[in-house]
Subunit: 174 residues, 2 copies
DNA sequence: AATCTCATGTAAATAGTTACATGATTTT
DNA sequence: AAAATCATGTAACTATTTACATGAGATT
């Protein structure tokens, strides 16, 4: 269901787009909250069209199909957004690794944490660069929230890794 | 692969356990980073046993099987933990919803954000309660990192939702 | 005796990944 | 002319969810 909603959401906020566009949009916007390959996106768009939630308004060169969200599609995404249910799937391999840190010896755990700090800082540099450059008006509002959450999440992770490393270091010295 | 590693990790840190125990451990510890039902856990444990990464050392009443991690299992989890690869899957439906907030009208988005704040605060109360009560020695180190990250994540989310709500309110007043 | 919790499993369906397949248009 | 990018798709495999199925032991 989430993939459907992600696609409807992107079409709703960014306007009409092709499967190819959506694949790239996925990568450049919601990538850190949800991932999908073109091999999953194309069939899903066909299903969405069959269900009347999107339409192909335009066919361009190289077989390009431009999808547009329909009234029914808009109603569907709106209802999903307003549905409050605690049944939210959350999977994060990085966090999983963090949980399993105690399986390692202190020196090994330290190395993993330091690597995490480095990765977070690299990601922060990218996100802060995006923050500085003005975005195209079409995705402005959308990008704002996404970016802000991404920045906060990455900083949180970096701080946790750094402080946990310090704690382990202190403990192993005593 | 992640489910295998989660199971090996839990067995490594918490000691021998049954599929039933592991199902509950999953829920009570790494639930916010990874989920798995018993219908996925039981077959995976059988595969792990077939691959020699765990053994059934003990069979109890009601067909209970107590799994223990083997030397090879320990080597496997250790290698996975030390492998740094940027190929980490991360899926979070809550964050996805946050991204799609611009599909809603400001008043609706506000309501969703306020609900998010309430949910985070409820979750924080639970986590802070766990933090206060002393844990059993067997899962102490494990619980520490998991809990700390969970607390930080939930606070980050709450603050983001609250501040974003304020921002939308300010914007809609002008 | 009934109900609850412990305990394990399988089957069917949906979701997601990896690999294969093809061809048009644009850029160098 | 070659290489890069645009563009869509399918097949096979793996992962995950939902629903079905069963029975033992403990508690009320």
């Amino acid at each position: 269901m989430s993939l459907r909603m992600a696609l409807l959401g992107l079409l709703s906020v960014s306007g009409p787009a092709s499967g190819y566009d959506l694949t790239k949009l996925f990568e450049s916007t919601i990538n850190h909250a949800w991932q999908a390959r073109h091999s999953q996106i194309y069939p899903e768009l066909n299903k969405l069209a069959a269900d009347g939630l999107v339409t192909v308004e335009e066919e361009g060169p190289r077989g390009r199909k431009t999808y547009t969200i329909t009234e029914e599609g808009s109603r569907t995404i709106r209802e999903w957004m307003l549905t409050t249910g605690p049944a939210r799937s959350a999977r994060d391999e990085k966090t999983l690794r963090a949980f399993l840190l105690p399986t390692l010896k202190p020196e090994e755990a330290l190395e993993v944490l330091r690597e995490t700090v480095r990765e977070c800082e690299a990601k922060l540099a990218v996100l802060e660069e995006i923050e500085r450059r003005p975005s195209r008006p079409r995705t402005a509002g959308f990008g704002r929230y996404a970016l802000d959450l991404g920045l906060r999440h990455t900083r949180m992770m970096r701080d946790w890794a750094a402080e946990t490393a310090e704690e382990i270091e202190r403990a192993s010295r005593s």
